[in-house]
């Protein structure tokens, strides 16, 4: 299932210069607003079919670069979300100033900056107990030919006062999900929140479906995607901050959603991100952050280890799923050969027993398929999700480093300006002196802001990591219980089959 086809990078027609502080996403958001909001009216009739729906859909037809996306492997640079700001890629390595300011954790400031309001929101969480369940269902082809796409029904059931209704659903397409994620990422990643990654684009899956193949593999693709979208939404709303985000609420509630075109930017800016990633990699090597907080160092190492382990586990489970599918195929073939043997057998009772054998084996084949699905949908996808989540976690740590860097840069600049000021004292250039004094004042403000940002992101990350670890345990336990239940059920079915067959075998003579 996991083909990693790496295409060479496509032409970068949508490459945009990243100016300092500019938000590529904000730009495209502005562009988006000028377009007519359009989700084609969809008939949510009761005839919607499940995953066995006949194929033909094309996600993001406006996305001319859809073809250009590679099959996203767990390692793909596309997995990095396009982040809003940050130091320009051409940063020069800086050694920290001697008077490095050590972060003071937990020091809340009075001034109004958005982050503290998040803290307040979290405190008042206690009011509404977390009760929300989201399901993604009824994949349905909308439109025809080249403009066709798949629409999914997103149903929310909740008792929380946050929502206008208790039970409601909307129709969404894949690019809507991607759009939601990019909005959340641009708002929250850089202040340290672990934003759950959106499901992958898939060139392989899309091609099969474009070709119009109405077969098991394209059905499996749709089901895999549906399940991934559901998990994505649940993870997102489980986050107390993200749940209350207006974009999330709008996504879940509003019947019409502005068409997300920034997914086009996402795909065609694959180049852009690769450039950024390369620059970041250089940065990471040269940023010698004076980490005075051992917690972060330890955690970073911990996540590196966890990443490696999860990837290994994931590969292991994929191999298991593969073998199970093979077993199902082999069992079916054996069943056929047993049937033929039974047909050519003269002895009546033996012939009947062999035919029964063939039937039993067919039933067992179905059990193998169910088991393979359990292996896959429970474990393989869980592990895959967590590998991607860890990448988001690592991203958040990176953001902290960037924040620190920004702070240090301001610090350096301030230092320089002060030196310049000192020189100008003796130079008798009152205009320049005043200008410099003004600049110093501005920079002092920036330095303070930088420090506050750094403290805040550190604080947020600690909370987020703690939440992540709690959720991880819950997640795994829940999946394992489901898996064990399926195992027990399979065995009990097997017992029934064998108990039914035994008298047949004994009755041969």
């Amino acid at each position: 299932m996991a083909d990693s086809i790496r295409d060479p990078p496509a032409e970068n027609t949508d490459f945009q210069e990243l100016e300092d502080g500019e938000d590529l996403l904000l730009e495209s958001a502005a562009a988006r607003e000028s377009e007519p909001a359009s989700l084609p009216a969809v008939d949510i009739s009761t005839k919607t079919n499940g995953p066995k729906q006949d194929s033909l859909f094309d996600e993001d037809t406006e996305d001319l670069f859809a073809e250009a996306t590679e099959e996203v492997s767990l390692d793909s640079p596309e997995r990095d979300v396009l982040l809003s700001e940050g130091p320009s890629p051409a940063i020069t390595p800086i050694t920290p100033p001697i008077s490095v300011i050590t972060p003071r954790i937990g020091h809340a400031h009075d001034d109004m900056f958005t982050h503290s309001s998040f803290d307040e929101i979290e405190e008042e969480e206690g009011g509404d107990s977390f009760d929300i369940h989201i399901s993604v269902s009824d994949p349905e082809k909308v439109g025809d030919g080249m403009n066709a796409y798949m629409a999914y029904k997103v149903t929310t059931k909740t008792s929380m006062s946050l929502f206008r209704q208790k039970d409601f659903s909307v129709k969404r397409r894949f690019s809507d999900f991607l759009g939601l994620h990019s909005k959340l990422a641009s708002k929250y990643l850089h202040i340290g929140y672990i934003v759950p990654p959106a499901p992958e684009k898939s060139i392989v899956g899309m091609t099969k479906v474009k070709v119009g193949k109405e077969d098991q593999s394209s059905n499996e693709f749709v089901e895999k995607r549906r399940s991934a979208l559901e998990r994505y939404l649940m993870r997102t709303v489980k986050h107390p901050i993200l749940l209350k985000d207006p974009d999330v609420l709008q996504f879940l509630e509003s019947s019409e959603l502005p068409r997300a075109v920034n997914t086009q930017a996402l795909s065609s800016a694959g180049i852009l991100r690769m450039v950024n990633k390369a620059a970041d990699a250089v940065n990471k090597m040269t940023i010698k952050m004076n980490e005075s907080d051992a917690w972060f160092e330890e955690k970073q190492q911990h996540f590196e280890n966890l990443d490696a382990q999860l990837r290994k586990l994931h590969a292991s489970v994929e191999s298991l799923v593969c073998h199970r599918k093979e077993l199902s195929v082999n069992t079916a073939q054996f069943a056929k050969s047993a049937a033929m043997l039974g047909n050519s057998e003269d002895h009546t009772a033996l012939s009947r027993a062999l035919s029964q054998l063939a039937e039993v084996e067919e039933k067992i084949d179905q059990l193998h398929q169910d088991q393979a699905n359990a292996d896959f949908y429970l474990f393989s996808e869980l592990l895959g999700d967590y590998v991607r989540l860890i990448t988001a976690v690592k991203g958040v740590f990176d953001q902290r480093m960037k924040t620190w860097q920004k702070w240090q840069d301001s610090q350096m600049l301030l230092q320089k300006k002060r030196e310049a000021e000192a020189k100008l004292q003796f130079a008798n250039k009152p205009d320049k002196l005043q200008q410099t004094k003004d600049e110093i004042k501005e920079l002092e403000g920036k330095v303070q802001q930088g420090e506050r940002d750094f403290e805040q992101i550190s604080k947020t990350i600690r909370k987020e990591v703690s939440r992540f670890e709690r959720e991880r345990v819950k997640d795994f336990k829940m999946i394992i219980v489901k898996y064990l239940e399926s195992l027990v059920q399979t065995q009990q079915q097997l017992i029934k089959y064998w108990e039914a067959f035994l008298p047949e075998a004994k009755a041969i003579s």
């Binding site: 586990l313 292991s316 670890e469 795994f476 239940e485």
Partner: protein, 369 residues
Amino acid sequence: MMEEVKGASSFLSVQVHNIKVTEVLQDGDSLTFIIVSQKMSGTGEFHVDRTYEDFEWLQQHLFSQEDVPGIQGVIFPPLPARLQVNASSKTLRHLGFLGLGEWQPYCKALETFLRQVAAHSILSKNRAVEIFLTSSDPPGRQKVKKNIFNRLSQAVEEMRKEGHKDVDDFFQTKRDHNFLLTGYTKMAAEKFLDVVLTEQKIAVACGHFSTALHLCMEQGENPEKQDFSQVCVKLSEVFNSIKKSMTSTAMNDMNTLGLGLDLETRYQEAEKEMLFRRTCKLVELQNATKNAEKAKPVKKAVMEEAKKATETEFRQICEVAKKEIIQLESKHVETLQQALVQWCEKQLLTAKESAEVYSQHLQTFKRMQ
């Protein structure tokens, strides 16, 4: 296989039904099999060690009994092919189920061979059988002269005879049926082997996953880390159980239905060879008859003699063959029934055990929440 007499064969000094191949010793590339049989007279056992060459020696002696009337009508118990030590998986593949496991299926097949030979009323008369089972010295290892029975690798001319129309409905039907059955049984055995091999692969994969999980244990005092470590350890145990269950399932498959299908396949090949020998004799008879008719008066008497002799041989072969075929057919039902019943019983037991183990794991996890 006529009159399978349990225990008492008047030609052998051993009991037939409990001949055992108890172990196999390896010395470099050669294998030696230890064969234990119970003495007919009172208590006591015969312990002999034999190599594969000794088995071949025995088989050759059985094949070369030209003076036994109708010997060509016998369906010879099939000897398993040679087992290569340190063989690649490809070469082992030709042995099918007998190449699996730690040589136990193979020993079982050798054992079955000996029991069938010893129980056969015609074959057990041959001195070679007694010598093989009881003599402490290795039987003569000189090569016995080649004969018609040696692996009937059918040359092109011979192939033509296989399709030769029969004069007897009974045998024609049997030949046709054997042809079908041989193909289907062989295929069923091969497909079942594929199933078993895949089950083994799954067991290995579960083992790997279990080990990988064990390595996920995290050092640390904070409760979330300990929780997660515990989850990993417990899950590792679950997959270890799955591995055991799969291994057990594969073993059951191997030792019951697998062996049964393998034996059936080889016996049907043996029957095919017997029928072919008879067909060849039929062709010979028909040629001799033609020659006798066409012969010039000078040669006529000689030709008539030859024809008569062939006629007698053919008749004897048919008599023996008929009995052998009927015997084989009831044996065939018995073999498959036994295999199916044992297979089902073992799998049922394994399934019950596995269900129990998984339930326990489930309880453990539910308690953990």
